[in-house]
Symmetry: C2
Subunit: 252 residues, 2 copies
């Protein structure tokens, strides 16, 4: 018997986003044709499936959950439909599955059983923030969440800044939305004045706002991203890669 294929299907990054803005037509049609899904959050997955215009009744769709509470011994049952020859769609709560969510475990197991894995194109807030930042896209790292406790967070910010300078690498991180303003205050209080910071809020939504400034510029006026999903992109540029304005004196 042939094995099924595991399709990694990206979803919207928030409410009020039209699928035609974030998902290629082929991916939408494929999502609308599947009957078996593994989802991080069944409620948002059902909303997404309605948006795809699926002709399959929602009660005929089999939906299993894979989230941070899923135990390792439950993974085998999530894999079973694929071993039985059925195609399965993996859906994250927002954006691309298997990036910054628990989905990667299932993908890794699929490889171990020679199941074909097909990632589909869709929105990733991490990648959109990096593109939109204008900061170094030749080398970058995504670090996930920063520590919630203040002194640990400040230590981490210092480490991130040093890392960026030493590796010439853009550093990307996120925070729980209600702590965004606190993180911003810690960033401007901790980082060097010519470190560059992009604040990318509500990506792909009507309220999208992406701005890159130096820490010195941000200090004059902090952006308001309180309770809005935001990606932070930080780059401590080596002196020989300063933008023209900043190096004008040296180059004369």
């Amino acid at each position: 018997m042939s094995l099924g294929t595991l399709y990694l299907i990206p979803t919207t990054l928030g409410e009020g986003c039209d699928l035609s803005a974030i998902l290629p037509e082929q991916a939408r049609r494929l999502a609308a044709s599947l009957r078996t899904f593994v989802t991080e959050h069944p409620k948002t997955a059902r909303q997404f499936l309605k948006q795809t215009g699926t002709a399959i009744a929602l009660q005929e769709i089999r939906m299993s959950t894979l989230d941070e509470h899923t135990r390792p011994d439950e993974l085998a049952s999530l894999l079973q439909p694929l071993l039985d020859g059925e195609d399965v769609g993996l859906l994250s709560e927002a954006g691309c599955p298997a990036v910054a969510d628990p989905g990667a475990t299932l993908v890794r197991l699929a490889h171990a059983r020679n199941i074909r894995v097909v990632p589909l194109v869709g929105p990733s807030s991490i990648l959109l923030a990096l593109m939109g930042s204008g900061l170094n896209g030749q080398s970058f790292a995504f670090l996930g969440y920063l520590p919630a406790e203040k002194s640990a967070r400040i230590n981490k910010i210092q480490e991130i800044e040093q890392h960026s300078l030493r590796l010439n690498q853009t550093q990307i991180f996120i925070e729980t939305p209600y702590r965004n303003q606190q993180l911003l205050q810690d960033l401007v209080a901790t980082c060097a004045s010519d470190t560059e910071l992009c604040v990318a809020t509500d990506l792909t939504l009507a309220s999208e706002d992406i701005r890159t400034k130096s820490i010195a510029e941000w200090k004059r006026k902090l952006p308001d991203c309180d309770k809005h999903p935001t990606v932070f992109v930080l780059y401590r540029r080596p002196v020989d890669k300063m933008p023209r304005q900043a190096t004008a004196r040296q180059r004369k």
Copy 2:
């Protein structure tokens, strides 16, 4: 006078790829409506624009080049149409502009002049490889190309593997396609047998092939990705995060 908007428009990752598989409909329509572009490679940009079905005659489209040979003093002229109120599309040779290409410089200058920057959703071989790998998507880094010289490359591979273990971070890198097989041989000769490696070839194309195995498994049979665009994803899993099979003995 109001400023123009800089749209970052992703393109296909290779020939023979239908836009409906990789670009959301809104992004395609937007690309088809613009008259001014900054492109890494005008020939592939013109092919892409034809695919968008633009109704604007190609000779009426203004196309400037931004590539690795562009001098810093040429950037101002690329920015001028935006300052004059015109919308501009930024196109990379393949995939997402401003990621692993020279486009980021223009995006950074746009921010410095308060020009709105809008990144559109599309294919990134880096992100698709990470999704498809099933390796740690909570923390990852993209490193660009490895050194071409053999002993420097082997040193770099060792450094990448140690980095992955120490930071619990997936490491992503690329190679000039005609050197892929040499890189694979160096990887299996250098890395620990239980280090995991995903080889993701011809992403989004009909010949797409994504497989993740341990170095020990790859040693038995190397994949053939000679002269095919390939992304390499490496992860040295901390012992406490080994997959179930590998840790069965410890857990008993």
